[in-house]
C-alpha cells in the first residue's frame, strides 16, 4: 500500500529531514513511527499525503507514484487518506456533526448520504450524544474522537495520525488506541507517529524507528526502544 524507495527530503532552508528511507507498509498493517523530536516523523507522513514532495526517491501509494500525480488528482488521493493530528484541527464554528459532515460535503455528497453516514460514524466513536455540541465544549478526548470520526467518514484506506495522543491524558489516549484498533480491524491501514513509548510497548505492533531522518530499526511487535 505504501512504498518508499530511497526517499530523502531536504527542506528549502537546507535541513535534511529524511535520509535515504526505504520502507514498505502493507494493507491492513498498524505501524508506529517513533523517534525523538526532529527525527523526521512528521515529514514522512507529509510525504505520504503529498503535502511535501521528496527531494530524492519515490513514494508510491496503492501503486501510484506521487511524483507523477497531477496536482488536480491530489484531492482525490487525500480523500482516501484520513488524517488525525495532535491539535485535532476541528472547525470551531461548526458542531461535531457539521465537522464530520464537512469531509463529506467537500466531496459533493448529498444531504441524504450525509444524514445516513455521519450518525453511524459518530456512534462508532461514541459521540452520538454530543453531535450538536461545539468543539470548545468538549473534552480533549472527545475532540480527538471527533477528528477521528471526520478522518474515517470517507471510508479511507489509510489512517495517518501524527502524535494523536499528544494532547490527551492517559485514559483518553487508551480510549483512542482502542478506537484505532477497532478501525484497523475493519481493514484500514494505520500509520501513527508518536512519542508515547508506553502505548507502543503495550500494543506490540510494527515499529519503525527514525533518528536524524534515517530508519534505524524496523521490527514487528516491537517496542519503543530506550536509546533515545
Amino acid at each position: 500500500m505504501i512504498q518508499m524507495f530511497n526517499v530523502s527530503k531536504i527542506y528549502n532552508n537546507g535541513v535534511k529531514a529524511l535520509n535515504d528511507v526505504t520502507l514498505h507498509i502493507k494493507k491492513g498493517e498498524f505501524v508506529f513511527l517513533v523517534g525523538p523530536s526532529g527525527a523526521g516523523k512528521s515529514t514522512l507522513t507529509k510525504l505520504i499525503c503529498r503535502e511535501e514532495m521528496p527531494s530524492r526517491g519515490q513514494v508510491v501509494i496503492n501503486g501510484r507514484s506521487l511524483a507523477r500525480m497531477k496536482s488536480r488528482e491530489v484531492p482525490f488521493l487525500r480523500r482516501k487518506i484520513g488524517m488525525v493530528f495532535q491539535d485535532f484541527r476541528l472547525i470551531p464554528t461548526k458542531t461535531v456533526f457539521e465537522n464530520v459532515a464537512f469531509a463529506l460535503e467537500i466531496t459533493g455528497a448529498s444531504n441524504k448520504e450525509i444524514k445516513k453516514v455521519v450518525p453511524m460514524v459518530l456512534r462508532m466513536v461514541g459521540l452520538e450524544k454530543k453531535a450538536n455540541m461545539l468543539p470548545a465544549h468538549l473534552s480533549g478526548g472527545e475532540q480527538q474522537r471527533t477528528s477521528v470520526a471526520r478522518a474515517i467518514v470517507n471510508n479511507p484506506i489509510l489512517l495517518l495520525a501524527d502524535e494523536p495522543t499528544g494532547n490527551l491524558d492517559p485514559d483518553n489516549s487508551w480510549e483512542l488506541m482502542k478506537l484505532f484498533l477497532d478501525i484497523n480491524r475493519r481493514g484500514t491501514t494505520i500509520v501513527m507517529a508518536t512519542h508515547a513509548w508506553d502505548i507502543v510497548d503495550e500494543m506490540k505492533r510494527r515499529v519503525i524507528a527514525l533518528s536524524n531522518g534515517t530508519v534505524i530499526r524496523d521490527e514487528e511487535g516491537g517496542v519503543y526502544g530506550y536509546e533515545s
Binding site: C49, R72, P75, F76, L77, R78, R79, M83, R89, I91, F102, A103, E105, I106, T107, G108, A109, S110, N111, I114, R150, N154
Partner: protein, 295 residues
C-alpha cells in the same frame, strides 16, 4: 456539482461578507461611485451626439462667395468642394435665389424687400451637407482656403462647443473611471484577502480533507462577484431613476430638445454597468486568490 455544494458556496460567501462588513461596504461604495460616473458620462456623451446629429443645421455649412467669381470658377469650386472630406452634397444658391428665399420667409411682409432686385446685396453661396457633425469644423476650415470664398458659416459654433464639451467629458470621465475602477478592484482584492486570511485555518483543513481547488476558491470568487453585482445593481437603480426623472423634466421645460429615450438603448447601458460591476468583483477576487491562495 449538486445543490448542497452550491448552497455551501453561497452560505460561505455571505458569511464572509458579513464578517468583513466594513470592507465589503467600502468596496461596494467604490464600485457604485465608479459606475455612477461611468454611467453619467456615457449617457451625456450619447445625448450630446444625439442632439448634435438631430439638429439639422449643425450638419450644414454655408459658403458665401465674393461677387467677382465668374461662372467658370463657380463650376470648378463646386467640383473642389465635393472632394473635401465629409461633404455629402453641394447646392449652388445664386444671389437671386437667395433673395427669393428671403422674400418667401418674410411672407406677406415681403414688400420691405422690394427694390433690392436692382442692387442685390446678398452674395452667391454654396449650401453644403456633411456626412457627420464631427467632420463639420475641419471641412469648414478647408473650405475657407478656397479662392473666391468670402465667409464660411456653420451652426454658429454650437457644434464645436458641443463636441469640445463631449471631448473633455470623455477625457476626464475616462481618467476618473480608470482611477476609480482600479481602486474598486484593489478594494475587492483586499476584502477577499481578508476573508482568505480569516479562514486560513479552515482552508488548511479543507485541503487536508481533500477539497478541490475549485471547492476552496469558489466561495471567495462568489464573494467578489456578489459585492461587484451589488455595487452594479445600486448604481443601475440610481441612474435609472435619475435619468427617467431628467427625461420627464426636459420634456416639460425644454420640449424642443430630444434626448435619448429609447428604452432598448437605456437598458443596454444599464445592463453594461451591471455586467461591469460583476466583472470588477470577479477580477478583484481572482487577483487576490492568485496571490494569496496558492493551492
Amino acid at each position: 456539482m449538486n445543490l448542497n455544494v452550491i448552497r455551501y458556496y453561497f452560505r460561505e460567501a455571505v458569511r464572509s461578507i458579513i464578517r468583513n462588513s466594513w470592507l465589503s461596504a467600502a468596496s461596494v461604495g467604490t464600485i457604485i461611485i465608479s459606475l455612477l460616473i461611468l454611467g453619467s458620462t456615457v449617457l451625456l456623451v450619447m445625448n450630446v451626439r444625439y442632439v448634435a446629429s438631430s439638429v439639422e443645421s449643425s450638419l450644414e455649412i454655408t459658403v458665401f462667395l465674393k461677387d467677382d467669381v465668374d461662372e467658370q470658377s463657380l463650376a470648378r469650386m463646386e467640383e473642389q468642394i465635393k472632394f473635401v472630406p465629409g461633404v455629402s452634397s453641394v447646392e449652388f444658391i445664386s444671389k437671386e435665389q437667395a433673395l427669393a428665399d428671403l422674400k418667401e420667409s418674410f411672407g406677406d411682409k415681403a414688400d420691405i424687400l422690394s427694390g433690392l432686385e436692382q442692387d442685390n446685396p446678398l452674395p452667391n453661396s454654396f449650401r453644403i451637407k456633411t456626412t457627420s457633425a464631427g467632420l463639420v469644423p475641419e471641412a469648414a476650415r478647408q473650405l475657407e482656403k478656397l479662392d473666391g470664398v468670402e465667409q464660411v458659416r456653420y451652426g454658429q459654433g454650437v457644434v464645436e462647443k458641443l463636441l469640445s464639451l463631449t471631448h473633455w467629458v470623455r477625457i476626464w470621465g475616462s481618467l476618473t473611471i480608470v482611477v476609480l475602477g482600479v481602486a474598486a478592484i484593489f478594494l475587492i482584492a483586499t476584502t477577499i484577502r481578508m476573508s482568505v486570511f480569516a479562514r486560513r485555518r479552515e482552508i488548511g483543513i479543507m485541503k487536508m480533507l481533500g477539497a478541490t481547488n475549485l471547492f476552496v476558491r469558489m466561495p471567495f470568487m462568489l464573494e467578489g462577484m456578489m459585492l461587484g453585482s451589488a455595487g452594479g445593481l445600486v448604481a443601475v437603480l440610481i441612474i435609472n431613476f435619475s435619468y427617467l426623472s431628467l427625461l420627464n423634466k426636459v420634456i416639460v421645460t425644454l420640449p424642443f430638445i430630444r434626448l435619448v429615450d429609447d428604452p432598448v438603448t437605456i437598458y443596454q447601458v444599464l445592463g453594461g454597468l451591471l455586467g461591469l460591476g460583476f466583472a470588477i468583483g470577479a477580477l478583484g477576487s481572482a487577483i487576490s486568490l492568485r496571490r494569496f491562495l496558492k493551492v
